[in-house]
Amino acid sequence: MARTILVVDDSTLTRAAIHHMVEMLELDVGEILEAANGREALAVLADRPVDLILADLHMPDMDGCELVHRLKTEPAYAAIPVVVISAECNPGRLERLRAEGVVDFLHKPFTPEAFRATLEQNVEWCRG
């Protein structure tokens, strides 16, 4: 079954880079959707089922912390695995996000190898 990934980041460069990395992993991904902030991500989710969310934290309009809170308190979205990909350096915030249900963090800057390892460790269908 082809999966759908939602990439949420205000950086078009990072969204495009993640898009390339997902393609390189040759996962069974049918579609990679994109959103520039939390509000856009929720609009995408209202319209389309998604199997994995890769989300930045520092974004305008609605940031990643608010997005995670909305996702994990909404039954329709709570089970979707969320991996945070961010330059965030506040350990306390990352712990709070983990307590809310984020499965893992990938710190920017990251290599394709680290990206692969993070997905494989945390998302069953990403394992080769």
């Binding site: 520092h58 350096c89 506040n90 350990p91 920017k108």
Partner: protein, 156 residues
């Protein structure tokens, strides 16, 4: 408390950001790079608060911005907006790497703003960076890169 001697740390953060994001080598502490004034340049900044308050700013020639996009995506930028976006993301990443190095405490509890583009139409902006005592210069692919870390005061 923060470590106030930031120059070495700033260039370390830039080196790690560019090497990891874009496989680009950095020649550090190249003050002469400031004298090569680019025709067009881009700048982005992130404000931070916490153990210290201040601003982290990155400025580089637009031509190097295009190379940055090319190296990250293995294809050229789709438009000029993506080049400016790349500089914003570089400022975001450099700041994220720098702040934990500045903090002396075990747990850096900085808050940061979303990275913002800065107006670069005026050559005076580059000149101010070149004169700034808190600006570190590096050379990347032969181009000058400025990273300015202004610590305005100690936070709570």
């Amino acid at each position: 408390m923060v470590e106030m001697n930031t120059g070495v740390l700033v260039t370390q953060a830039l080196r790690r950001a560019l090497e990891t994001m874009a496989f680009m080598g950095v020649v550090e502490d190249d003050v002469a790079a400031a004298e090569r004034v680019p025709e067009e340049f881009l700048a982005a900044a992130v404000d931070f608060s916490g153990p210290a308050c201040g601003t982290c700013r990155v400025a580089l020639p637009k031509a190097l911005g295009r190379t940055l996009v090319q190296n990250v995506l293995l294809e050229g930028p789709r438009d000029e907006g993506q080049v400016a976006d790349a500089v914003q993301e570089l400022a975001n990443v450099v700041c994220g790497l720098l702040l934990p190095m500045l903090a002396v405490a075990d747990e850096p509890t900085f808050e940061v703003t979303v990275s913002r583009r800065e107006d670069c139409r005026d050559r005076a902006v580059w000149d101010r960076l070149a004169r700034g005592e808190d600006t570190q210069w590096a050379r990347v692919d032969g181009w000058p890169v400025a990273v300015q870390c202004i610590v305005q005061g100690q936070g709570g």
